[in-house]
């Protein structure tokens, strides 16, 4: 059992080099745009308020994130709508 755990654990633990790269990717995205994680939260809350005024949305599922390539950063808001079907499912 322990053997398998160690095997799996080792296999799925990313190398520190890869961790460094992923952390940097995120840090650079924030640095480049001057948008802090706290500001992202504020944006998310306000987006939810504004949109809920007009459309039924799934507030729990809203995500505001960065998407970043070499030369551009963009803010991505993913806002799941509460459609009739989803409502029925609940």
């Amino acid at each position: 059992m322990k053997f398998f755990e160690r095997l799996l654990g080792h296999r799925y633990k990313p190398s520190s080099g890869k961790v460094a790269k992923e952390r940097l990717r995120l840090v650079l995205a924030h640095d480049r745009t001057d948008i802090s994680p706290a500001l992202l939260e504020t944006l998310k809350d306000e987006i939810i308020t504004v949109i809920s005024r007009h459309v039924a949305i799934d507030a729990q599922g809203v995500q505001v994130t960065f998407s970043q390539s070499a030369h551009e950063s963009r803010l991505v808001a993913d806002i799941p709508l509460l459609t009739r079907r989803r409502r029925r499912k609940r």
Binding site: S15, S16, G17, K18, A20, K21, R23, L24, R25, V27, L28, D31, R32, A70, H71
Partner: protein, 271 residues
């Protein structure tokens, strides 16, 4: 003939800017280029000791700016190489003694009689960095494959782009090939991808660098150079527009092969 002014900067301190400037100055001068290296780190000068010229300083950058001597009098000639000169920083003053215009004026009067002017920028993004990049035709960013150094490099690249300075190229210094191989260090492809600028050199970590700094004899001086010494000579050749392949720091894996393939399409800048 007019010199090309290249500022070497980094954001973070201690990544090897001064070592890079000393060795590139030497490597270019060994190729018959007329070179001036300027220490712009007023108050914390070190380029003089890296070059082993600390005992020959009479006047400095601030003396020139404040008119206590002529520019020619402040230049320290390196006796080992016919055409390498150092313009030392003042040690007992601070960065407020220099303005961007002063650097532009000084480089302007050096341009005619030299081929390369290399400026060793202070770390940071304050006034010292500002005046160091003011006269630059080209900027080299030095970084290490570490989170903090790469982050600071990115910040500096952003500031340089905002001032519409450039082109900007990258040296990755202090690579430890065995750590990269084990996946315990950012590799060259990672850093280039994150910073999204052209690479001009890779330099491996090398004990010989510390030893050469101990003696005040830059590594690039000896012809039977170590790997790091060869790396500096390669960068010097690229600065002159030559197309030189990057060093292989270890057995190339798939990543390096892909990178080598990509780098072939990077255009040499200038000349």
């Amino acid at each position: 003939m007019s010199a090309k002014v290249i500022t070497i900067t980094s954001g973070k301190g201690g990544v090897g800017k001064t070592t890079v400037v000393a060795n590139l100055g030497v490597a270019l001068a060994m190729r018959g280029q007329r070179v001036v290296v300027i220490d712009a780190d007023v108050g914390l000068r070190n380029l003089d000791v890296m070059l082993g010229l600390e005992n020959r300083i009479v006047y400095d950058l601030v003396d020139v700016i404040e008119g206590r001597c002529r520019l020619r009098q402040a230049l320290v000639r390196d006796k080992r190489l016919a055409e390498l000169f150092l313009l030392p920083a003042a040690q007992t003053r601070d960065k407020s003694a220099v303005r961007p215009d002063d650097m532009i004026r000084i480089c302007g009067s050096l341009r005619e009689q030299h081929d390369f002017i290399l400026i060793d920028s202070p770390a940071g993004i304050e006034m010292g960095f500002r005046y160091a990049i003011a006269p630059a035709d080209e900027i080299i960013i030095v970084t290490n494959p570490e989170v903090s150094a790469v982050r600071d490099a990115d910040r500096v690249i952003g500031l340089i782009e905002a001032e519409e300075k450039g082109p900007v190229r990258l040296i990755i210094n202090r690579i430890k090939p065995d750590m990269v191989r084990r996946g315990e260090m950012l590799d060259i492809a990672d850093v280039v991808e994150l910073l999204a600028i052209d690479l001009i050199g890779i330099v491996p970590e090398d004990k010989a660098i510390l030893i050469s700094a101990n003696r005040g004899q830059p590594l690039a001086l000896s012809s039977d150079s170590s790997l790091a010494g060869r790396a500096f000579h390669n960068i010097a050749r690229r600065l002159r527009g030559e197309d030189v392949p990057f060093l292989t720091l270890h057995e190339p894996g798939i990543f390096e092969r892909l990178l080598a393939f990509r780098l072939r399409f990077v255009r040499p800048v200038g000349d």
